[in-house]
Structures are given as structure tokens and as C-alpha cells.
Amino acid sequence: MSRIGVFICHCGENISRTVDVERVASQASLMAGVAFSTDYKYMCSDPGQTLVKKAIAEHNLTHVVVAACSPRMHERTFRKAAEQAGLNPYLCEMANIREHCSWVHENREEATQKAIEIVGMLIERVKKNRILPTITVPVTKRALVIGGGIAGIQAALDVADCGHQVVLVEREPSIGGHMAQLSETFPTLDCSQCIMTPKMVDLANHPNITLHTYSEIEQVDGYIGNFQVTIRKKARSVDEHKCTGCGICITKCPQKKIPNIFDCNIGMRTAIYVPFPQAVPNVPVIDRENCTMFKSGKCGVCQKVCGPGAIDFTQEDILITEPVGAIIVATGFELYTITEKAKGSPIKGYGEFGHGKIPDVIDGMTFERLASASGPTGGKILRPSDGKEPKQVVFIQCVGSRSREKGISYCSKVCCMYTAKHTMLYHHKVHDGQAYVFFMDARVPGKSYDEFWRRSIEEEEAVYIRGMVSRLYQKGDKIVVMGSDIAVGVQVEIEADLVVLATAVQPQKGADLLAQKLGISYDKYNFYSEAHAKLRPVECATAGIYLAGACQGPKDIPDTVSQASAAAAKVMALFSKDRLEREPIVARVKEATCVGCFACKKVCAYGAVEEKEIRDRQGNLLKVIAYVNPGVCAGCGTCQATCPSKSVELDGYTDEQIVAMIEAL
């Protein structure tokens, strides 16, 4: 006979505001098999958990039902408490009377009635719970980091410094990401290169880090502690081991007029190139689309001049497989472009700003390259169209961001600060120039941030105009900026020499495709979703995968570095054990009735179903049936629902339990 304990939580007022918790407790006490029932204000707190533990001991409880929030929130908390009181944790279940009841209803009487029924269902279900042994799986103590920007670099260094092997995969020919493109960084104006490049070198020289640049993730198999990752190493056409990085191939390459993406297409590069002089690794790559050798079969100058013979035109993409136990995703961001967008895209461009056709209307990253000492102008602020020094520069904030009508409603978070920085850099370099900023709000919370923004106005003479810009058009060699000053209530027209747009921060192109390979979730903008916005901000809902940097949402460098170290700490915690405990909520096949149709195998999204041969004592094959690998099974239950002969059961969610719940209604 079951002796069930029922614990009703008030959740402060979250539940008790709408549900009469005392009545639920008293009604539950009358239900068959219930030995004890009570309510408490915060069941998840220390006194609440102690209450549960004490009741288990005092009333000799065999099962526990906690009626509170979603099991996603606190199932683990209460199962641990039950375990500490000597109960098998899987004999504790949660009745969700918050998300499924009090939060979604207004009528107290009806909500109370519903809460009583939900508790009743869980009581019937828990009676049929089995004692489940914890499953353990081995942990491969190697981490994969996807993305070699500041987030990936920081995370990789932290994990590697802890003594674990790290594999870092970067899509571009060099690590460094967007931070390597920046000139100086807020709020201290230290040069980005000076704080970034040493970290890049540390990473390349680290004995525990294997670096794959110019590589992409092809496929991800496995599960927490045991991933198999297939990496496509794209053909570089240069042998990484032979190349000494002397750069003579670059000097001699006759194709010199290819827009350099690293310099936002302002500067030019050769067909064989390193994206920037401080690149890591310092090994060039041949851009096959623009290389004369690949286009016409004639040239090969680089091959002729290369001393160590590192140029290899016949190189092909290769696939390598790396076993890892954890994955940190740090794929970063790209900037919104104002050009006309493809049909069907929810994001619209800016026709009123000329759809990107006015040459001296540039984005913030392009301004960074103009201001950077290593940029195409050597750090001089010169406008792209005619190379003249602009004397009137208009900065426009919130371009794309915070505008639902353009398809993006979120704030990009970094633009207020970098625009303030741009006005300072401009003022430092063009003393007789004037910077204007059109802004909606100055969102500058952060350590020393507000002071920095104030400085741009008070000491660096930037003129801030609160209002938005309706139109930009070219008039002679000027750009007419038509805007409004809502503080004064007048229309403003400025004839600018250069216009800099603080365009929205978006996830990298293809972020959704990578998420699908990894099996992690993402929002409608393709930013990756964390498991819990507040309490699990660096973990994905998919176990063993962690997030760092702007791929999860717009972030500045300090936040990115913090999150990267946090993700690294999570990985280290995972690697601190040799075996990993897993919830035993997995599917089991009844061998006697399984006919081996493998419908379950077809529907399993995790590849957990294997084929198992049943043989008699003489070794004759009797039949081939399904077998669920408990290490791989995610407990989703799809196989259970699919099996035509009802031969698969998910522990904790058996047909018998579901039917018992329905009958309790």
C-alpha cells in the first residue's frame, strides 16, 4: 500500500493568489493512498525542503508529489530532497499547478478545482512509478569550441588552462573574429589589437588546443560526454605545415584588386592572402573564385616563388572526426545591412537611406576599419568615395534595431557605446570636424559606461540630437540628412560628408543551420536560446552544449568574455567526473513482443535505437529486435507512441501511468 506525501507550494503568491492551496492540501489528504498532505509558502526553500524530508521520515512515506511549478524548474530539486531522505528520487513527481494552472486562470474557484484534479492525477501516476537506477555514461574530457572570436578564444583558453584538450573550429582563415577588426574599445579606449592579438597567440601556442581554421562543422552525433563531431577542413591550397608565413606569395600575387572583406571592402587584397597582418595562423589561403590559376589555369606565380613549396593547387576539402564531451558554441554576430532584402525575408532594408547605394553611408564596422591603425587608411578618417577627410559626420543609432516595422524589435545593446566611442575617435583625429548623433535613447548601463558617454558630449563636443532620421540623399558631394529633433520639436537638415549607421547586431548567416546540426534551439531572429534566461544563461537545453558571446544575443566585449569564462566553467564542472550521471527516464523494449519492424528506429531523432539479435542456446538466430541505447536515449517518448505492438515503454511515462492519470480525472 502506498503512503504518499503531498506538498502544496504557494510559490510566494504566484500560486496562492489564484488557487486555494489549503483546500487543495485538505482535498488531497482524502485521496486514496495519501498518508500526509500539507502546504507551505516556498516549498523549494531550505525550510520547505526540510519539511518534505522530515515528512518522509516521520510518516514513512513511499512516494512524494510536490504540487508547485513546472518540473523543468524544480523537479531535480525535490528529487534530490527525496533522495536525501532515503527515497529513490524517481518516486517523487511534480504536479504543475503554476504554469498549467494559477498563471493561466483568473477564476479562483475553477483554478482551485483544476489544481485538485492535477494533484489527483499525479497521485495516481506516482503510485505506479518504479524505482529507477541512475544511468552513468563515460565522459570524453575534450571540448569543442565553435568560433574563434573573443568568446571562443576565451572559452578555449580557460578550458585548456584547466588541463583539458580543446578543439577550436573557425570558419574564417584566421581566428580573431570581429574584435580583431575593431580600432579601440570602450570604455577605456585601449587598442583592440593590443588586447586581442596576444590572446590569439596564446591560443595558437597552447599545448592543449588543436586549432582548425578555415573549417566548418559538418555533422554532430552523440550526446553529452560522448559527441562525435565531423569537421570539414576547407581546401586552403597552402600546406599549413610547410608554410613559414614569409608572405612572398602575397607580395607577388598579380591579382591585387579584390575587395578585402576584413576591411569591410574598403581596402584591397590579393587572391592569395591572410585576412590581416596579425592573423593566426599566419598561413595564407587562396581565394579560388578570384585566383587566375583556378580561373584560367595560367599563373602559378605563388607556387614558383614559394621557397618551402607549400602551395598546393590540388588540395581538397577533408573531413575529420573529433570525439568530444562538451561543445561551446561561440559563433558571434554580423551586422544588419540596409540593402534591399531578399523576398520572403522578414527583415526589410532601408530604402529611405538609399538601400546602401550612397558610397559615403557606411556602417559602424566600416568606421572601425577607417579608425584602425592597421586599417586600409592607416587610421586616417577618410571617406570611401573620394578619400577626403569628412568635416561633418552624422552618426545614426538604432538602424534596424528597435524598429518592429523593419523586422527587428530588440535593442542591439552595443551601439550607444560604440557610437559614443566613434565620436571621440573622430574628434581625436579630425580636430576641426563636427560629429552629430541622432539617437532615440542613450542606453549606456555598465561599469564606467555612462561616464564615457557623457564624456563624448561634454569633452569631445559631439552634438547629440534626440530624434530619428527619415531620409538620406546625395546632393553634390554631400549627403543630406533629414531628421527630427524631438527635444526642440523641429525638423533638422544636416549636410554631412559622411554618415555612419549603427546597424543592428544579428546572428551569423547560417546560425539556424548550425543549430539544426547541433540540435539546439534558437529564437525567431536565429539567436541561440539558453536553457533558462536567468538561472542557466550559458547552457543550452540540449545537455552538454554551452553558449558564449553574441550568438546568444547582442553583447559587448566585457559581457562576452564573462559568458565565455562561465561556459568554460560549466564544461570544467562536467569534466570533473569520470562518469556522468544521467536521468534514467529512457525507453525500454519488451523483447518478448517486439517483432523488429523498427518503426521506432525511423522516428528516433537521437539515433538511440539499435538492432539486437536474439539467438537460442545453439546460436541460431531467432529474430532481430530493437534495442534502445540508454546512454543515447533522450526520453522523448516518440518511439513509445509509434510502436504498433506496444513493445516500447518510457520509464516514468508508461501507458499504464498515463491511463491511470486519465482515469483520475
Binding site: G349, G351, E352, H355, E405
Partner: protein
Amino acid sequence: MSNLKYSYYPGCSLHASATEYDISTREVCTALGIELQEIPDWICCGATPAHNVDELLSLSLSAKNLELAEQVPGDMAVSCASCFSRLKFTQHILGKSETKLKLVEKAIDGPVHLERRVKHLLEILARDYGLDKLAADVRKPLSDITVACYYGCLLTRPTDVPNLDCTEAPTIMESIVETVGGTTVPWTHRLECCGANFTLSRPPVVQQLSNAVLESAKNAGADCIVVACPLCHGNLDIRQKEIESIYGSSYGLPIFYITQLVGLALGIPPERLGLDSLCVSPQNLLKEKKLIQGA
């Protein structure tokens, strides 16, 4: 030729100051085999004054017209940018607000019909009839004529309501003009306001804004401006001489309705397109470009 049939809503301007727009609209549609049946007893849409003063009145006037349109089959064809905007706005607002819908039903003492598709003449020409077919109907291509297509503020704005074309970078008018052989110019003020109905209450505002439009078109090298709105036409055409004298400039830019230019290209005799109603005479330009006969 086509089987297109529309319930036609001309609006007050097309029966008064912009009769040439009405005449040329009907001529072009007849020439293309597009049947326009005028909605019986249609009333004023209230234009700008009504919706500035009384939203219920404004919505009710357009709702009444939508109800009257039920008597005539086919999508609703509208030439005037303002009537078009008011009808689309009414459908948009009443489609979203049950409360306002109830008030309007009470006001017009009848059901509100929001399903009818309201189409501007530009969409009818470019999409329903189609540019390919239109190209085949051209008898006198508008070669050598350089046109500044002027949308003004109403045709494409705001973002979600008229849904005629891209709000800030539309191309529909250019596509029609190019289809009938004209050359279009990129220019800066094609979506700026002409001053609209301030023409009566605050003429200096209109003079200033319309001057900027004329100046921009002239600088872009246009021979003329083409419009699809009676109010824009009034401000740019009727006030052009006065603006020239105030700003000491000389534009001499004929302002055509889109239907007048398309009509010329289709070979409709000029005298049937109301060209003589234009204040800035197009005679010299059209003669020069050999689009009309002349000494």
C-alpha cells in the same frame, strides 16, 4: 484586350479639379479593355480634413463607399492617392478594432464590408493587366522623354497599410513608365511631401516643399514629372509659376498624370486625354519629342 472588370471609385477630385485624371483613366482603361463601372451614389471619402477632425466620420464615409461598392462586381479601382489611402486605412483599422467596427456599423446603419480588394490604378496596370501585355499595346513609345516619377507621401505609406509597393523605395510607377518607352531618372525627392492640403491654409509651406520637389526633379535632368495624386498635381502644376517667381527659378516642368502618359503611348489622341487642362503646358515638350503633331 482583357476581361478585367472593376467597380470604379473616382472620388471628388476626379469630378472637379482633376477631371483630366478621370478622363484619361477611363480612356486608358477603355483602350486596354479594362471595364470600369462607376459605383452608383458614391460619396466623398472625407480626404484629409475628415480624419484629422473626426475619426468616426472618416471611417464611416469610407465604410459607406465600401458598402455602396457591393452593388458592382469586381475589385475596387481607385485613381486618387488620397481616396486610396482612406479606403485602405478604413479596412485596416476596422479589421483590427471590433469596437470601432461596431460604432461605424451604427453610423452607416448597415453592414461593414471589409473584404473587397481596393486597388490603385497603378497596381491594376502593372500587376492585374501586367507589364508584358501593356508593352505589347504600346503604339507610340515615349522614347526620348525623361520622366521623374513622383509618389508623394501617401501612395506607399505608412509601412503596413497601402501595401502598394516598397514603402521607401517603390518602383511601380517607374516600371510602368519604362514599359511604355519612357526613361526614368533616380531623384531625391520622389517620396517627399508636396505640402498637400496646406495649399489652402498655409501656402508658403506648400511653396517651399513643392519647390524642393521641382528643383530636385529638374536637377536630376527630368523633362517632366508624372504623378498619381490630384493634390500633388495641383501643388506642382497650378502653383509652379508662382513658385518660380518666388524662388527666382525656371522649371517649366509639365506635370502629367500617369494615365495621360500611358494614354499617349497607347496612341490615344491627345485631345481625349485632357492635356489642355494642365497649367504648365506640355505642348512644346510633346512636340519636341514627336508625341503630338504640331507646327
